[in-house]
Symmetry: D3
Subunit: 278 residues, 6 copies
């Protein structure tokens, strides 16, 4: 990985989920930086392709197709798959099997994985807890479980095959924050883009070969997340949700479960536990 350049990766970069919201933001931004992009999704790419980008329809569940798309790539930005809570059977194909295909591709190529994990992989930690990057995984649904599975698979592929991974535990990545929780968890498109760039370009992830990054902007209300790998990759958020505070701070869910846990509303979906936790 010593050959990673300062602003443009030496090898092509594969982006899965290219036709999704974050995929389109990344395609535009990375294309403007002059990156050589291989894009894929199971639905057509809706925008103009940047120069140097190629798009190929493929299903994440089609292993040989994903392995083939990754050939020659030095980094896989794995943003494909289901991105909100859904029944188990809807999640398993794209997010469990699809993830395996992405990691097999990374192993074959000796590529680094930049994996769009989620705060929902640790959503059942309470908001009063302060988490470092070695906190226990505590998924808050089938979606979160698929992300936690992905981080563990990343560990396996590191131990056994030397594959590097950056796990982006993305908070809430939208054009702007829209409720009180996002005053803490919001990740601006700009910060997200720079995070992906640094995760890709960082010459090393240190001796462990993996890095967890808490994916939130410089929000003063984000008090739950502390130590992570941002210095290793050279990233710091620049944007902040603070200016939205006046408009949004009263906009809470009213659900005591959702307000108690870091995962917010996802933790309250189908919540059926009667006795108080702990």
């Amino acid at each position: 990985m010593s050959t990673r350049a300062d602003t443009v990766p030496q090898k092509p970069v594969l982006l899965t989920g290219a036709s999704g919201a974050l995929g389109r933001v990344l395609t535009r931004a990375l294309g403007e930086q002059g990156w050589t992009l291989r894009l894929t999704d199971r639905v057509p790419f809706p925008d103009q392709l940047p120069e140097g980008a190629r798009f190929q329809l493929a299903d994440l569940e089609d292993g040989p197709a994903i392995l083939r798309l990754a050939e020659g790539c030095g980094t896989i930005l794995h943003f494909g798959g289901i991105s909100v809570e859904h029944p188990f059977e809807t999640v398993i194909g794209p997010n469990i099997r699809g993830l395996y295909h992405a990691y097999e591709a990374a192993r074959r190529e000796g590529a680094r994985m930049v994996f769009a994990s989620s705060n929902h992989a640790i959503g059942f930690h309470e908001r009063t807890e302060v988490l470092d990057d070695d906190c226990a995984l505590a998924p808050d649904g089938y979606y979160g479980l698929s992300k936690a599975y992905g981080e563990m698979m990343g560990g396996l592929y590191r131990h056994k095959h030397g594959v590097e991974s950056v796990f982006l535990r993305i908070g809430s990545c939208f054009p702007e924050p829209t409720d009180a929780r996002m005053l803490a968890t919001w990740l601006s498109y700009g910060d997200m883009t720079r995070l992906v760039m640094r995760a890709t370009l960082a010459p090393t992830l240190g001796p462990s070969g993996t890095a967890v990054i808490w994916g939130a902007s410089k929000n003063s209300r984000m008090t739950w997340w502390r130590r992570d790998g941002r210095e290793t990759i050279g990233w710091a958020p620049q944007d902040s949700a603070d200016s939205y505070a006046a408009a949004l701070e009263g906009k809470t869910s009213g659900n005591p479960v959702a307000e108690r846990y870091q995962g917010g509303g996802f933790t309250a979906l189908d919540y059926s536990r009667s006795e108080p936790p702990r």
Copy 2:
């Protein structure tokens, strides 16, 4: 769970994987204790059924069938699925989807899950490390990953639905130890049976509602595993591999990876990392 009796559970107990090696041992032993057993497997049960036991062919991938088998049960002993390393595609159906079905059943019934997890869920810890039950998961293959996934799913079902789980991180459960590593990891059939009984009968798992148990007999060479939930459930191993030491202690694998990590030979399967770890 306050109604769990001393030696015989008040409600029937579902045992998956009943036709496998450990399933057959459990069926015989628990049947002799007078337990009411519901047995299932995807292949016929090869032995005489104990009194009070019912067997039903079912595939772990058939969700409604598993949910139905569990009706009225107070405990699920989930021993079904693939039990050694295999390609991902072989593991995902019985061990990931099948596990989900078992947990859905536990949730529906308010049943306790006793899950046959494995040391391979943490196999990439080195043998020089001493692990407590809150150590990081570190699976050593697709099989181990499915076990780690199961423990996380257990956490999710505890947080969201109040389902209790005992995770048995079984070492090496065979009639007798057969190599040097098993001098540490061996779990005798008797200790395994008593462990399952205590996991089922323990009136409470404490405030966390989950317990991890290191599944090894009282082997003096087992120096890697320390604190766990055995006191909570009231179990202590009685057997020991020590008497096999003279015969087996030279019987090591000769593979430096296998000898370095707790997971033994599984960690060395397909191992392709070139640089030294850490």
Copy 3:
């Protein structure tokens, strides 16, 4: 079922096929009545959700998801699945497997099933026959066969598990009648809605535990259908197709098979019998 209230069911009601034509009509009408609705479909719900309604995407072929959606429900309005004639392979998944999931859910919940059956379950009776609710099933295609299968499954679940079922043998449920046959078979949206309400709210279905209802409005040309369970549930149609008679009575199909049998055009699809029937 003694706790069924007069106008609002005491327990939530699950409606499958909520995004379809009849599903949307029911959602609006029952929502206005203040019912607590759980809605599901495999495509998003296109309208504003009424207060007290929750929508969850799910595939009828995903058994555990359907079972979970039904938890706590006292009635299942099963309007999902394929609703016109299609090749067998298109019908079997949503209408045979999906039906099984709906009935498993009803059994698990002790819920009553209100099943959108169809005149096509008995479509091969001739129009000159007068049918009571114990007439033989005589499906007129793969779709009708799936509905007849559903009624038999309802009988099985009643016998074996005590599940109550109302089988709505719906004639032609559209905003208004559009051909001569519908002068007999038309069921207005209003009558359909009231029928579903009574099927849900009726305190008992009598000793048999099942009721068949001929689903037609008060059309004077409907001379084929006679005795059914409408008194048991307390429903009578209020609307009539009669005012459309002048405009539509000449609008027949011109196909002798279609005109001979109660199922109309469905009976003539792919009809290949050469000799005259009977």
Copy 4:
């Protein structure tokens, strides 16, 4: 069908499920009669093939293969599929989809279907009821439901495509009766063979084009089954279970559900209805 000969059908006969118990009995017996047999099963045929017989491995779920096997055949003896109670998901493939393939084949060939239905298609009638062939279908499980589905599909294919069907509602077809219920329901191998021969050779099934036959030997304890199509096809049983009465009449199940209903033990499997029926 006017060309059906007295003892040997003019066209080849397709037998599905040839490698099963009844299939092997039929193969031997019909082969000895000089019939031209096409045999199929998903497992190899274990016996010596009679002269004039051809065997082809095929899965009932493979439609084009089944359609092809039936080419040129004048009769399909459909004995394939699951033959005892199993979870729904195990039954649907071979017994629902497989049945459709068999009926499509019959339609394409203008062949007569001789369908191994079962008493379990009507198993929830009580033993005190006397049934004629037009009694309501009352399946006693998923297996029985698949048989009832088959009879309804036979009706559909008769109405729409002119396909003739003989529905053999087989009681208990074993080498000899083994419990008290079989004193009523036993069908000897000889009677079964002669029944299949007559069902195949009968020149006509009368104007309805379908015939139901109660498949029991001349057992004096069979008091539940009365009128059927045996005269139409020219069959009468010759054997009797009566000589086993002394040995077996005390051998009842002891289960009140099983003893109440015609379907016997199948009706009691998973029986969960609390209140008394009727």
Copy 5:
């Protein structure tokens, strides 16, 4: 086949892929000729149906449905399936399995197959080669491979079952040519329509029973394709791309692989061979 009439086939014609671009052109044109058309596709037909045409939704992977649609047809125009290069897994279902279903239908009906093959079945011949209809198959991707497979299956069905086939190796069939290569390979809609008509109506395909036709209009730049079966079926192209030459002749791909081989751009997709061919 001696009964094929001059302008209207005596038996109905099945057209698969009816809702696609070429399918719609054919439906309109053949409908205007008074042909009796059976149309099918997996998506609804978007246009007004011509008189005498019937449309049925069906999936090419549903064998019995395709076999049934073809009943009574004398010709199958197989234009369904994937029509451009895609990953193998996307192609195999519609184009390999679907093709088998189409050929099984042709065999059952004794129908002639008119198969929309493609120049991509021979795309890896160089443009300097002059090909006759007995040239070696040389597919240029998974799509082309499925077309070559189809031609071989046609040969098999001819040898074994006497099925006649016309293989249309279509060049580029679009409203008008849009690049330099199409100055050679363009097939006008009119020429394509007349080709399909002649392929259907030709009384005989000669002793071999199969005919390959190079599907290009009368373009003076088409110098690669020579002898074929056009005289046998009585077709000659009438249109020409020549008038587009001035506008398009500089519009080449710039890719040396694409320019070298007859298959054009398809040959260059994923091209990874390093050394020079031959």
Copy 6:
């Protein structure tokens, strides 16, 4: 490929279908030569593994597993899949999809493919024809079609990706010949083994990069097969069926189709063509 050694390949060799008859012969023979073998099959390997051999259970339909098994291999001996005529649906998975996985593996590794093709890929040539290696493919069933598909895929992978292939058109490879046709087509185990060795070890396949070999021993009655690539790879058969001639020459099939065509009995299976060919 310049590094292929004289007797032992420099890189490991992957053998699919290792547990089959030919696979076991090859494993033993190549193991004795000191080759480094990777073996795979979907059923366990029944024999003692030679030194230097590794066996891994895997399904040919599991693409990533096959790709992974091939890593580091310089040659793939593709002997897996269905090896006799079966219905299409039985063949497509292992032989079409499985083949694709084998070729993808070869492409990824830059490995040479040694493909167990078959005389059934050209079985519909008459025995009076003399074939060179550039003869037209003429498969004689679904099995033969899968072999012809494989040869075409080999051509595609050569053209597009530079993959070398040796196509072994195996005649009849059994311990000894057992009928008259095998006096021509028999390939002894010894000749087969030497053929595979030469196909693997040959330093080059010449400029075309592919070679077809007629897989028959030095039988004087083999008069149909002439020119092929044996000189290029340096193979000549040493054994002969001639000594069996006296015992077998009268042992013909008696079927005129089977006797006419090179494919023998396979060409006569389901043969339904009425008019005489040609």
